[in-house]
């Protein structure tokens, strides 16, 4: 669907005339609801505004009833879900803002710009809160790289993140890569941003003070990205995204990014906030001006008058609905008290940022005892009103659907037929080599060091960053951040799988010495009109809630991306968790994954017998094509003890105390085998290990396990006992071979070739 179809009733596929509201993505019932709110038929502009604001992407209309079950409260939470970003008190007068988003659909259509504008959008969410964006992370899912189209998507997405993130001057400090045929037509491009601010500067995206100026900052407004949220993000794809296909026709709905404009916008906005020159700030993202004006007015319980003729345009003869719903990038809405306007223009001129007064904040009227602010739009000052709606009705009154849910019909059979009965591999070594992949081809293209904060960067279990940045009070604290997802686990059991993903996030943070304090989530799912997808979403949210409650973690923000389907096939449920951890004192680097010769290799695990099931493992899925079975058991109480132990061991070293650990790495996708191989590769030192229980012990993905290497194994075992955690000595590091008794013996050179060759080889490059 292109912008032209907004022009009036349009011919449908069968040649019938499709009513305008349906062409815009509103159902007949939703139109009735609009009529009920306005007490009359909406005009074209009003309809377009409701269509974008009530889209799945903006309104979360299918997911809200479920998201309400997530825990949101926690000791350090300054701002929870519903604002532009979640904010946590990190200590020393510093607050940390964090948010995660998806840009899946735009990236499937135009990978470079789709991914680039995803970065731009999330940065604006962070500096809207008054925080300087300090780090990005990009979890990505694609189909297999042996297909040319996947290489085009992958190279484009990575190139887009690199081009935008590097130029805008925010380091990309990590991410995650998944390759699975299920993402062939619908890649996932998620992006997380972390920022920091002096607590005193925290601002919320709300308008206040009737008479204050509504100011549009940044880029001009064009026809790019019109209907991005409704056309792209809230509908699935057909079978093939090739030229001439319906997907090709969606290309005009993808926005184009300009990191240089955004960089100046960041600096100008932060300077305006520092100088106290704005009373409210809101980014323009999905649904453009319609969203920014209605959300800020709704949050501030005020109204707003907007004069469209004051909006700087990059194209002639734009219709009012185009101006109000354009998703042109690099724009912000500021609310400014009139006496400050001259100083605002001065700051903006210095940064070469355009600033235009496009309206005023107006008083809300009391209707039945409730303040109702109206969003009133004119095409020129004093001209006729072209839209007049209660602002909050756009932002808050979208319908909420309790859509039908149903588990898949064959759930019982799928769970019964797991991979545990499969014959063991003839050569475990060959299977291990096939599971290794070095992501450095990706992160070498990202500036991951700017701001001099990156103590542990991409490739580590989690990024560990000094808590420092321009304008922040001095601090010896650090923050850790990670993103985790696992579609193999979540496809088998969305509830238990999502809980395991949360558990892994917390373990990853622990490996760099950080105590998890909050998470954000990005729920990537298929078509919510499919009952099985809604069941997956509901189950995943329950699993997330269970794990977060047990581990004491508030969910301080999130994003839901639905309609990730093509040709009727939904992607596997892919909730991605972004975890934030804190370190109280950072004086020394964490041990990292690499061990040195002579160290004793110990696996830390819950006490009692282990659960060596292979269900949901990379080995079962990628090496045997088995996506069924059940997941290993996650004991959240035992997990918390394992995590506490690891934080205790690592954080002492970080703080400058005696360093007990030589290496630390959690066991996750690929199982113990992949963890050991990565540890050997990190320093180029092999190991001789014993007592691994067959191929299931090597490739099973039971949670709550961390491998450590130490020169003082007795002390580690003693600390573990104190925490109620089990330990098993696996052997000793050293030599040029990774040998696991009875299972494999691999030369480091072989391991290295398999590890570093994979991704570059797909592009005909050397590793």
């Amino acid at each position: 669907m292109t912008g032209a179809r907004y022009g009036g009733d349009v011919p449908g596929a069968s040649g019938d005339v499709e009513p305008l509201h349906r062409a815009l993505g509103l159902t007949d019932e939703e139109l009735e609801r609009v009529v009920g709110i306005l007490g009359r038929e909406p005009n074209h502009l009003e309809l377009a505004m409701y269509a974008v604001m009530w889209s799945e992407h903006c309104s979360y209309k299918s997911s809200r009833v479920h998201l309400a079950r997530l825990p949101k409260e926690g000791p350090g939470v300054l701002v929870g879900p519903g604002e532009n970003a979640g904010v946590i008190d990190a200590g020393d007068g510093i607050a940390v803002a964090i948010r995660i988003e998806s840009h899946n659909h735009p990236s499937a259509i135009e990978p470079h710009q789709g991914a680039a504008t995803g970065v731009g959008g999330i940065l604006r969410d962070i500096f809207t809160m008054g925080a300087r964006p300090l780090a990005l992370m990009d979890p990505l899912c694609f189909g297999p790289l042996d297909e040319p189209r996947q290489r085009w998507l992958f190279e484009g997405v990575v190139g887009g993140i690199s081009a935008y993130g590097n130029a805008v001057g925010v380091p990309t400090v990590g991410g995650e890569l998944t390759f699975d045929p299920a993402y062939r037509q619908n890649p996932l491009v998620n992006v997380l941003c972390l920022g920091a601010l002096p607590i005193s500067r925290l601002v919320l995206g709300r308008a206040s003070g009737p008479g204050n100026l509504v100011v549009l900052l940044g880029a001009t407004t064009g026809r790019d990205g019109i209907g991005g949220v409704s056309v792209l993000a809230s509908a699935g794809f057909g079978a093939e995204g090739r030229a001439g296909s319906p997907e090709d026709a969606k290309r005009p709905s993808v926005q184009v990014g300009d990191p240089y404009e955004e960089k100046r916008l960041i600096e100008a906005c932060l300077e305006l906030l520092d100088a106290g020159l704005v009373v409210g700030l809101q980014d323009l993202g999905g649904a453009g001006l319609a969203c920014a004006t209605s959300e800020t007015a709704a949050r501030g319980q005020v109204g707003m008058e907007v004069d469209l003729s004051a909006v700087p345009r990059r194209e002639d003869q734009m219709a009012s609905w185009e101006v109000m719903t354009s998703e042109s990038q690099e724009r912000m809405l500021a609310v400014v008290a009139p006496p400050d306007w001259d100083q605002v223009t001065e700051v903006c001129a210095r940064w070469e940022v355009r600033a235009s007064v496009i309206g005023r904040v107006t008083e809300a009227a009391l209707v039945a005892g409730r303040p109702v602010g109206r969003l009133v739009v004119r095409e020129r000052p004093g001209g006729p009103v072209v839209a007049d709606v209660p602002a909050a009705s756009l932002a808050d009154d979208a319908p909420r659907y309790r859509r039908p849910m149903a588990p898949p019909d064959d759930l019982a059979e799928r769970r019964a037929a797991g991979p545990d009965g499969l014959a063991p591999p003839a050569d475990c070594g060959a299977d291990l080599l096939a599971l290794l992949a070095d992501p450095s081809w990706v992160y070498r293209q990202y500036d991951h060091q700017l701001f001099l904060n990156t103590v542990a960067g991409p490739g580590a279990d989690a990024a560990l960053l000094r808590l420092a940045g321009p304008g922040l009070p001095p601090s010896r604290r650090a923050v850790a951040v990670t993103t985790d997802g696992n579609p193999r686990w979540c496809a088998i059991d969305p509830r238990a799988g999502t809980a395991m993903v949360v558990a892994e996030t917390v373990a990853n943070l622990a490996c760099v010495g950080a105590r998890a304090v909050a998470v954000v989530d990005c729920c990537n799912f298929g078509n919510p009109e499919h009952p099985e997808v809604m069941w997956q979403l509901s189950e995943a949210i329950d699993g997330m809630a269970e794990a977060c409650v047990a581990l004491g973690l508030p969910v301080i923000g999130g994003n839901v991306s639905l309609y990730n389907e093509s040709g009727g096939a939904d992607i596997p449920p892919t909730p991605v968790i972004g975890g934030l951890g804190l370190v109280e004192r950072l004086e020394r680097r964490p041990p990292g994954a690499g061990w040195s010769a002579g160290s004793t290799v110990v696996i830390v695990h819950p006490p009692g017998p282990s659960d060596p099931t292979l269900g949901g493992s990379r080995w079962a899925v990628e090496r045997r094509g088995v996506r069924t079975g059940t997941l290993p058991v996650l004991d959240l109480a035992a997990h918390a003890r394992v995590v506490d132990l690891i934080v205790d061991l690592v954080a002492r070293g970080l703080a400058g105390g005696p360093e007990l650990l030589d290496a630390v790495h959690d066991v996750s996708a690929g199982g113990l085998g992949v963890a050991l191989a990565e540890m050997a590769l990190a320093t180029g030192v092999g190991a001789r290990l014993f007592g691994v229980a067959g191929h299931a012990g090597l490739f099973g993905e039971s949670p709550s396990r961390v491998v450590v290497a130490t020169a003082r194994p007795d002390e580690v075992v003693e600390r573990a006992r104190h925490f109620g955690v089990g330990t098993t000595v696996l052997g000793v590091a050293g030599g040029g071979t990774l040998a696991v008794e009875g299972l494999l013996a691999l030369d480091l050179a072989e391991l290295d070739a398999a590890f570093s060759g994979g991704i570059p080889a797909a592009f005909g490059e050397a590793g």
Binding site: G169, Q445, L450, V455
Partner: protein, 222 residues
């Protein structure tokens, strides 16, 4: 008294705070200099830091050379003042004609954020004076256009006049003659692609960059 070092900021520059922090670590007093200034305010040295000056539009450094501050930087350099361009700053100095040659896209045509091992090949320059030739330093690279090129006669001149100050040990980007950094005839203007400020703390994994910055502060260089 601590040396005052001006750090030039164009719209789009992003390494100015990092460079200022690293300079402070070696005892300098950094001062940010906005690109619209026509006067350097009496600083003792100038660093043009990395980033994307004016968005790198047209090509890196091509617009920055027209910023008012560059006239002042050129006069400062002509008077023998120490000027160091790091990464995008190096690109700016070549575009401004303060250093010969140009930086083109990396071999492989990808952005590259990797550690590099560089060898000090001349101790003539303000950035390498006091360092022994042959000293190896580990410094991060972070650029798309880092491959140094120049005319054959320019290269001959650079080599003959001992003006190649840093060379890569394992040339990662296709630079001519493994060149990572050069200086002008007066040895007071230096450009280099690696980022010394990113190797300024044990927490970040290397302090090799501080060696160069200390050298810059041991002013003046004859």
């Amino acid at each position: 008294m601590a040396a005052r070092v001006g750090v030039v900021v164009f719209p789009g520059t992003n390494c100015e705070h990092d460079v200022a922090a690293a300079l402070a670590l070696v005892g300098a007093t950094p001062e940010l200099l906005w690109h619209g200034l026509r006067d350097l305010g009496g600083v003792d040295a100038v660093v043009v830091p990395g980033g994307f000056a004016h968005g790198d539009y047209l090509r890196p450094g091509a617009l920055a050379r027209f910023s008012p501050v560059m006239g002042a930087v050129a006069r400062f350099a002509a008077d023998g003042g120490p000027v160091v361009g790091i990464c995008n700053g190096f690109q700016v100095l070549t575009e401004a004609g303060l250093l010969p040659g140009a930086l083109q896209k990396n071999r492989g045509l990808r952005f590259m954020c990797v550690p590099s091992v560089v060898t000090v090949t001349s101790s003539r320059s303000v950035l390498t004076s006091g360092l022994e030739v042959g000293t190896e330093l580990v410094l991060p690279l972070n650029n798309f256009d880092g491959s140094y090129v120049c005319a054959p006669e320019t290269l001959e001149e650079l080599v003959a006049e001992d003006r190649v100050v840093l060379r890569y040990r394992d040339n990662p980007n296709g630079s001519l003659d493994d060149i990572a950094g050069i200086c002008n005839r007066g040895a007071n203007v230096v450009g280099l692609m690696p980022h010394p400020e990113r190797a300024s703390s044990e927490l970040l994994g290397s302090v090799d960059g501080l060696v160069l910055l200390r050298s810059l502060l041991s002013l003046p260089v004859a």
